[in-house]
Symmetry: none
Subunit: 188 residues, 4 copies
DNA sequence: CATGAATGAGCGTTCATTCAT
DNA sequence: GATGAATGAACGCTCATTCAT
C-alpha cells in the first residue's frame, strides 16, 4: 500500500488543493494549498513529489468518487431505462452536492499536468457506467457507432447539463430531466 | 505618420500566439509568442496592452472564424435538416482543417483571462447558428426546454464529436455523421 | 546660437518636463513628457539627445530663472540689509508663485543625472546673490568662515523656509520674515 | 522551527542596501542588493515584502541610529549651550564616521517610496533633539516662531554643514564649529 | 524635421522545489 | 518526519532610444 506517512495529512492536502483550485485556479501556489491544509510549505512535498503529482492523484480520486456516487443504489433488476435514469440522477445530484469537487475536476481535466496514464486510470473507474451505456445503445440507432464516441457524447451532455443546473439551481431537477431525456432520445 | 501599426504584424502575433498556445499551453511566455511572430519582445505590447488582451482578442477572432466557416454556403431554401446538416458538416470540417485553431480555442475557453464581455461578444457571433438550432427544435420534444440548455447540449456534442474525429481522422466523416444523427435525434 | 529647430517645441518640452516631474517624479517616462508637450515620442530626442540632457538643461534654466527673479528690483542704493531683504523676499515670492518650478528644481537637484558641470554653471547664476551675501557677512562673525559654507547655510535656510511656507501658505509672509531674520542673525 | 529567519541576514540585506544605494542610487536593482548581501535574489523578499518596504525600514533604522548617536553622552547637568553643543558635535561626528549612512539617508529622504508613516516614526526618534532645540530658543528671538520652522531651519543647517565637512574633511572640526556657532546665533 | 512603431535590456516579484534545523 | 527559510529561474511589462516612413 503506497500510503506512507500520515493519511490524515495526505487527505487534508487533497481537500485543500480542491478548495484552493476552485477559488484560485490551477495556478494556485503550493504554498497556499499547504496553508489551507494546515501543514507547512515543504510538507506538501513529502506527500506528493511534485505539484503535478498532487494534481494527478486529486483528479483520480475525484473521478473515482464521482463514479462511485453515480452508481449508488442503481437497481440491478429494474429496466435498463430505470437503471440508466437512476445513474444519471445520481450523477447530477453529486454534481450539485459536490459543486467544488466538480469544478475542480473540470479544471483538472483540461490541465496539461494530468498525464495520459491518469486519464486512463480514471477511465477505468467509469467501466460500470460505460457498460450501462453500452447496453442502452445496443439495440438502438447507435449500435454501430464507436463506443468511445458514444461515451464521449454522453459525457459531454452530462457536463453541459451539470453546468446549466449549476447556473440555475432552482430548476435543477427539471434541467436534469431534460438532459436525461435528450440523452435517451439520442441513444434510442 | 511614421511606420503605421501593421495589420500584418498584428495578425502574425495572433497566429503565433495560437500556435504557441497549442504547443505550450496558456502559460506560454509572451517572449516565445513574440519570437514565433518574428517581432521583438516589447513589440507584442504595442499591439496588445497585456497578455490577457491578446488572449481575449484571439479568442474572439477564432470564434468568429469558426462561426463564419460554419455558415458558409448553408442553403437558405433547403429543408431545415439540410441547412442544419450543412452547418454541422462545415463546423466539423473547420475543426479538422483548423485543428490548431480549435485546440487554442478550447484552451482559451477555459482561461480565467477571457472576460465576460469577450464571451458575450463571441456568443453574438453564434446567433445564426443558434437561430438554426432554435428552429430545429421548435416542434420537437425539446420545444419547452430552456434554449440555453439546448444550445449547451448541442455545443458539447459538437465538441465531443470533433475531439473524436481528431483522434481518428481516417473515419472523420463517419464520426461526423454519427454526431449529427445523434444531435438530430435528440432534437427531435 | 545653439538653438536649432523650433524654439517653441524646445521650450514646450521643457515646460512639460517640469510639470510631469512634479506630478510623477524623475522617473516619469519621456513618452509622458512628450505627450504633455504635444510632440511625438521621438521628437523629444531631436531636441535633447538624452533624457539626462533634458534634465540638465531644465535644471539650469530653472535655476537661472530663480536667480533672475531673486534679483529683480533690488535697490542698488539702499542699505545692505534692505538689498538683502528685498532679494530674500523676491526669492520667497518666486518660490510661492512658481511652486512647480521649485518642486522640480528640488527633485532635479538630488538627481544623479545632473552633472557637476551643470551644477557649476548653475552656481554661476548665483554670483550676484553670493556677492550680496559676501558683503553681508564681511564684517560679522562669519567673516572668516569659508564662503562656500556660508552660502550653503544660506541656501539651506532658504529651502527650509520655502518648504515651510508651502505647507502653510496662509502665513507665508510671516514665515518668510522669520527665515530672513534668522539668516540675518546668523550673518550678524 | 526550521531555519529561523536570521537577524544576521536581515541586517546584511540592510547594510547591503545602504551601500548599494550610495553607489548606484535608489534605482539600484534588488538583485544587486541581494548579491551584495550574499543572499539569493528571492531571499530578499522573505525579509522584506517589497523593495519599498526595505527602503522604509532602512530609512527608519538609519534615522534612529543617527538620533541615538547624536544624544550619546549629552550632559544632563551642563548648560543648555553645552548640551546642545555636545549634541551637535555628536551629530556631525556621526555624519563623518558614517558617511555612507548619511548619503543613503539623504537619498531615501527624498524618495517617494518612504511613506508618511515612516517619516512620522522617524520624527518620533528626534523628539529629544527637538526638545533641546525647543529649550534653546525659548527665551530668544525665535520664541514666537513656529516650532516646525525652527526645527526645519536647524535641520537644514546641520545638513549643509555636514555636506561641507564631507567635501573638506581635513577641516571638518572647524566647519562643525562654524555651523554650530551660526545655529546658536540664529537661536539667539 | 516629425512621427510613432520597433527594439531589447532590464526590473520587481513569484513560486516550485530543496535543504538546514 | 515536520518545518519554513533559501534558492534562482522565469515572467509580464516598461521605457530610453533608434529608425523607417
Amino acid at each position: 500500500m503506497a500510503r506512507p506517512k500520515s493519511d490524515d495529512k495526505r487527505s487534508a492536502i487533497m481537500v485543500a488543493a480542491m478548495r484552493v483550485i476552485v477559488k484560485q485556479g490551477l495556478s494556485a501556489p503550493t504554498a497556499v494549498i499547504a496553508k489551507e491544509a494546515g501543514v507547512a510549505n515543504g510538507s506538501l512535498f513529502t506527500y506528493f513529489p511534485t505539484k503535478a503529482d498532487l494534481f494527478n492523484q486529486l483528479y483520480l480520486e475525484l473521478k473515482l468518487g464521482m463514479a462511485a456516487a453515480s452508481l449508488q443504489e442503481v437497481p440491478t433488476n429494474g429496466s435498463l431505462r430505470e437503471q440508466f435514469s437512476k445513474m444519471w440522477s445520481n450523477w447530477m445530484r453529486w454534481a450539485m452536492a459536490e459543486h467544488d469537487k466538480r469544478r475542480a475536476l473540470a479544471l483538472l481535466g483540461v490541465s496539461d499536468d494530468i498525464t495520459r496514464e491518469t486519464r486512463m486510470s480514471a477511465h477505468q473507474a467509469m467501466v460500470h457506467i460505460a457498460a450501462l451505456m453500452e447496453r442502452s445503445r445496443a439495440n438502438g440507432p447507435m449500435r454501430d457507432a464507436p463506443l468511445g464516441l458514444v461515451g464521449a457524447l454522453m459525457n459531454s451532455m452530462a457536463e453541459a447539463t451539470m453546468d446549466f443546473m449549476a447556473q440555475d439551481p432552482v430548476n435543477a431537477d427539471a434541467h436534469s430531466k431534460v438532459g436525461f431525456d435528450a440523452l435517451w432520445r439520442m441513444l434510442g
